[in-house]
Symmetry: C2
Subunit: 234 residues, 2 copies
DNA sequence: CGCACAATTCTTGTCGACAAAAAGAATGCA
DNA sequence: TGCATTCTTTTTGTCGACAAGAATTGTGCG
């Protein structure tokens, strides 16, 4: 229960309140610090952040609109569940998003985009080497969002943000089970993606992105079926 | 200025306030009753709906998250502008969305989905025959959202909602210029889509959806270039 | 007459308080 | 003891009020 009062910022700028709460809550939800289904109490959050319920409420409304918390009318709001039953729909969407954003990036990127993407890739490799799963997942999301932004289509970048956000929760479960060795080959796949984008090789980028997505989907599916076997064995 | 006080519902259920404001404002924005760029005053809305600023604010936050209003911190919030310069990105996204949702609908639909879709199609034809552009646009959005729902992938249905929402504003501009004759062939195209879905003809549905989207994009682009020519001619 | 600075107004962000729902506890009856 | 009903408590939705920025007006000086 992470409810230490965070008395770090007794003074804050006007209008920043909701954003602070939103950012922190979002991160805690996506990192599974707040487990799915756990209830969210507004007054408790108010005490924790040292502010009134109003900005808390605004943050919760935004999280609800984003699908990260679900709120029953006149009843408690809680952290949204992960829909394991329809997980394949998630990977369908992810694969298509990877393909289209990488294609567009290969077409429309500018030099500054590449430096941004390469910087994130460096961070990513560092996180993998440091075996920091949490950082790795967050940077992975930032990496693909940067690619989406290089594609210059705000509808697809919006979709990327959404999918990669939820992806952070799903991948977290995955890496938690493999807490010994983070797979280095994902770094290489990212590297190939960058090369294809830099070469403006649209078809190659598409192919790599598709393979990348399918590989991740397969890994996660393998994990889930294995977990299913374990459950049955017990 | 549509600010008559709407004293229709002096009593309302608890928790419904924000939804009422959200639904009505969203509709007014998408129907261009509220023109892009026009400022939104919270207290004025409060008087209009007969409620405090708090539920108004919640509705505005949700609209902002959806991209329908843009809000400068500590300054006025206003109806979001339509980004005409990057209109092609919209149609790129629309085409891909049409294709994938129609494909999935052909694969995954159930009988009840088809009755729903056919009902909307009947309404659509009625609106076209009645030359009711506003209803036609709204029903068109509902029609494609129903197809997306039949595809059973909530990420794509979410994207559809978003794109078709903005589409209502763009198409409104289009039909406003052609207020003499609403094109009947769009009804036929919808009919073909339904047939392909019912036949579970995935490739056919894909092809039709792609053609449908490209046709709309071309029409709108033609309108815009023509408007551009007129502007230059003046 | 023009420009910079100060005062005022206006709008938004935040707060504390109150009331309605719902959940939970307690009581009464069979 | 079990169940239904009432009462209490908890939590949310709404309200009115206040204060901080920003925009606007007003003023004085060059």
């Amino acid at each position: 229960m992470p409810d230490e009062p965070v008395a770090s910022l007794p003074e804050r700028k006007r209008g920043a309140g909701a954003k602070i709460v939103y950012d922190l809550l979002r991160d805690e939800i996506l990192n599974l610090t707040l487990s799915p289904g756990s209830p969210i109490d507004e007054v408790q959050l108010g005490e924790r952040f040292g502010m009134s319920r109003t900005p808390i409420r605004e943050a919760l409304v935004r999280l609800a609109e984003e699908g990260l918390v679900s709120t029953l009318p006149n009843r408690s709001t809680m952290v949204a569940q992960i829909d394991f039953l329809n997980l394949h729909t998630y990977f369908d969407a992810l694969a298509l998003m990877y393909r289209v954003t990488t294609r567009l990036a290969a077409q429309n990127h500018r030099p500054s985009d590449l430096t941004e993407i390469r910087a994130l890739q460096a961070e990513y490799a560092r996180a993998v080497q440091a075996q920091d799963a949490l950082a790795m997942i967050a940077i992975n999301a930032a990496f693909h969002i940067a690619i989406a932004e290089a594609g210059r289509n705000r509808y697809f970048t919006g979709l990327s943000r959404r999918l990669l956000g939820e992806g952070r929760r799903i991948l977290r479960l995955y890496y938690d089970s493999y807490d010994d060795q983070l797979p280095m080959h994902l770094v290489d796949e990212h590297e190939e993606l960058i090369l294809a984008i830099a070469d403006r090789d649209v078809e190659g980028a598409d192919r790599l992105a598709k393979a990348h997505a399918e590989q991740i989907a397969m890994q996660v599916q393998r994990l889930l079926t294995r977990r299913g076997d374990l459950d049955i064995a017990l």
